[in-house]
């Protein structure tokens, strides 16, 4: 081969291999904030980073609950080339920490006073072995009920506060010609509705025993059977075409006035905001029926990976600092629909739903009722969560399975889930 060709070939190969690693002073961030409201929210962080002179390489992987993103992350980590930061949350942060792949954020934590700033329950999740490895971005509440006031008015119903009221309101809405409960038949959505119904019908203490501590008696007992039967009843409120539907398409059904209610976390508020609607007027929010004294939290966080490049580490530290700064916290949470991870923020810009959420967060943190979301990976490990998903979604879609059998399967799901 001529020298010219050899050089070109070498350069091409070098260029190709450099393509996927972060350049100096740049962070590569893996996330799944890809729907309308979420993407806008993530963009705020990108702009803040770029304003400080750091580069931002976006690595967005779509897929509602983050499943696809986590798989991509694992393959990147296995190949020895993890991104600078990734949207990892809950117990999974501990699993990654155990593998020794996460970097240390203690410097930023001390400089910014995270220990005093963050509530204990939040800070615990961000630490591994006593060291900060992740920065919380927001606090989502999962047990919300969203409604379209026009549909409610047409059917002549009020916002339900108990499960029985929900079923009654549902019947009235069905007769008025609307879909009572908009839902997407995907496993994580089924599980989201299930945990809200369980929380509403059986209380937060039972939730803690069954879905967080995985107590076999709680999982197989009468209360679980009642919760499962309530859950199956909600299927009567849904429409035929719900299997496989995406969550934001279901929210769109409420926005457009096709459906009355949706049981979904407060990231649905981002969709309402992106559609230009105002809380309290164009859409209503309330705690899921029966869960007024409980708060199911889902904390998004960015975990930082261990990197060897000094400049990249500097960019990571800047990223961690910027995430918890009031500017980003306010902008991101206003766009996303969640409440800030730092409780000392001025909430006057936030709408009535967010202010209520924050008040409930602080109240339940003191009085009890603050529980991690099982359906969103905050309570139990991925494999146990997956096994519970299987039981829940199969039961929901099987017309013949009795609740007793499903409860038995829950018990074996929690036991056989792992080695």
């Amino acid at each position: 081969m001529s020298t010219f060709k050899k050089t070109t070939l070498a350069l091409a190969l070098a260029g190709a291999t450099l393509a996927t690693t972060a350049q100096a002073n740049e962070v590569e961030v893996l996330h799944w904030w890809t729907s309308g409201g979420e993407a806008r929210a993530a963009n705020v962080l990108k702009e803040l980073m770029e304003a400080e002179g750091y580069g931002w390489q976006d690595f967005a992987v779509a897929g509602g609950g983050g499943e696809t993103a986590m798989t991509v992350l694992k393959s990147r980590a296995m190949s020895g080339n993890p991104p600078s930061a990734a949207q990892i949350k809950g117990p999974e942060i501990q699993e990654w920490g155990e593998l020794g792949l996460l970097g240390n954020l203690n410097g930023v934590a001390e400089a910014e006073g995270w220990d005093e700033l963050l509530p204990e329950v939040v800070a615990d999740i961000m630490r591994h072995d006593g060291q900060y490895v992740a920065v919380p971005v927001n606090v989502h509440r999962v047990n919300w009920l969203w409604a379209n006031p026009e549909v409610l008015e047409a059917a002549g119903v009020e916002m339900p506060t108990t499960l029985d009221e929900l079923f009654e309101a549902g019947e009235a809405i069905r007769e008025a010609g609307f879909v009572p409960l908009a839902h997407g038949g995907q496993a994580w959505q089924d599980a989201t509705v299930f945990e809200s119904v369980l929380l509403g019908g059986q209380g937060s203490e039972f939730y803690q025993q069954a879905l967080v501590e995985l107590d076999p008696e709680a999982l197989g007992g009468e209360q679980m059977i009642d919760a499962l039967e309530d859950f199956k009843r909600t299927r009567e409120l849904m429409d035929e075409g719900m299997p496989g539907r995406d969550w934001n398409v279901a929210t769109a059904m409420v926005i457009q006035g096709v459906a009355g209610f949706q049981l979904m976390g407060d990231w649905a508020k981002g969709e309402f905001t992106a559609a230009g609607l105002t809380a309290g007027e164009d859409y209503l929010c309330a705690a899921a029926p029966g869960t007024q004294d409980a708060f199911t939290f889902n904390i998004d966080s960015l975990a930082m990976f261990r990197v060897s490049d000094d400049e990249e580490r500097e960019a990571q530290q800047a990223l961690a600092r910027l995430v918890l700064e009031p500017t980003f916290q306010e902008a991101f949470n206003l766009a996303k629909g969640s409440i800030p991870a730092r409780p000392d923020l001025d909430m006057s810009e936030f709408d009535s739903c967010a202010q209520q959420s924050l008040a409930d967060f602080q109240r339940t943190a003191e009085e009890g009722g603050l529980v991690p979301s099982m359906a969103h990976g905050m309570a139990v490990r991925a494999d146990i969560q997956g096994a519970i998903f299987d039981v829940v979604t199969n039961y929901f879609n099987d017309a013949d399975m009795p609740a007793e059998e499903a409860a038995e399967r829950m018990v074996s799901a929690a036991e056989a889930a792992s080695f």
Partner: protein, 314 residues
């Protein structure tokens, strides 16, 4: 009477390996094909068979999120056998695989026979039937998902025409959803099978057909009893390819039903992916992959053996 002719003693020497020359270029020429193919063979051996071996090793460990080498014997296989979703997935693969292969063969053969009748515009028709093969399974899955959606697709259309009681909501019915996979996959692959059969039909000697016609056989009879048996190699190729498409169907499931209502349309490929990666259970996922491999080999090896053996004799 051929046997009575004397054997001619020709002086032509047979070509081939027997004609070895002792010059270096001659030696290199004999080895050249092997040298050229060696990298591909080495890569296949390593990346395909080597990694299969690695998967087998992993299926004997308790690997969770990333591979570890903490051996637990056949514990993962025991867990797999006790997993209800695995049995649903395996049953689905049987149903889907058998229906897909049989229906594709039938439709492909029928289309090929019909196209073989020297009709006008045969080229255009052939292209139309072959087009679905050019689509990716994701596109097929999404399109059929819309078509089969009871509120948007065929059911809505026919009900709109006035047949209020028409129902075609298989895709949301846990018992029938697996057949929607068959519909979409057959639509995609039949054209390809048709092309294979058409090529085979065109390769059949006309004289055989003429001889059968002289004997007074009707056209269907000719096709059934004379032509199709000649196409055994084509059927063999078609089955090989279709079986591999059936087992590989991951993207079709994800696009069409996402695993189906609940996990009613789960296939071993999606089961393995969900457990090995999403649920951080690499050990269990590897065990399911090995069982998939075992199942495939159990069916294909006897078929391969019988076909290749009979080819030598027949």
């Amino acid at each position: 009477m051929r046997d009575s002719l004397p054997m001619k003693n020709t002086s032509a020497t047979p070509l081939g390996p027997a004609a070895k020359r002792s010059t270096p270029s001659g030696g290199l020429q004999a080895w050249l094909p092997r040298l050229v193919l060696a990298p591909s063979v080495a890569i296949s051996l390593f990346f395909v068979y080597g990694f299969m071996l690695w998967t087998f090793v992993l299926s004997l460990t308790s690997s969770r999120m990333l591979p570890s080498y903490d051996f637990v014997g056949f514990g993962q296989y025991a867990r797999l056998m006790a997993n209800e979703r695995w049995w649903v997935a395996s049953t689905n693969l049987m149903i889907f695989g058998v229906l897909f292969v049989v229906i594709c063969l039938a439709i492909g053969a029928l289309l090929a026979i019909l196209l073989d009748q020297k009709i006008r515009q045969e080229g255009a028709l052939r292209t139309i039937y072959l087009y679905p093969m050019a689509l990716s399974f994701i596109v097929t899955g999404v399109v059929w998902k819309w078509l089969l959606n009871p509120q948007l697709g065929i059911q809505a259309m026919v009900q709109g025409w006035g047949f209020e009681s028409f129902r075609f909501d298989w895709i949301v019915d846990p018992d029938m959803a697996i057949y929607t996979l068959v519909i979409a996959a057959v639509w995609q692959a039949s054209g390809f099978v048709m092309a294979l059969f058409l090529a085979g039909l065109r390769g059949i000697d006309d004289s055989i057909i003429k001889a059968a016609q002289l004997d007074g056989a009707s056209l269907p009879r000719i096709y059934l009893r004379v032509v199709m048996p000649c196409l055994r190699p084509v059927v063999f190729s078609a089955v090989m390819i279709l079986a591999h498409i059936a087992i590989k169907s991951f993207d079709l499931v994800v696009a069409l039903t996402g695993g189906g209502p609940g996990y009613a349309t789960d296939l071993p490929a999606t089961f393995m992916y969900a457990h090995a990666f999403t649920r951080a259970q690499i050990g269990l996922g590897s065990a399911s992959a090995m069982l998939m491999l075992g199942g495939v080999l159990a069916i294909l090896i006897p078929y391969l053996y019988s076909e290749l053996r009979s080819r030598k004799h027949g």
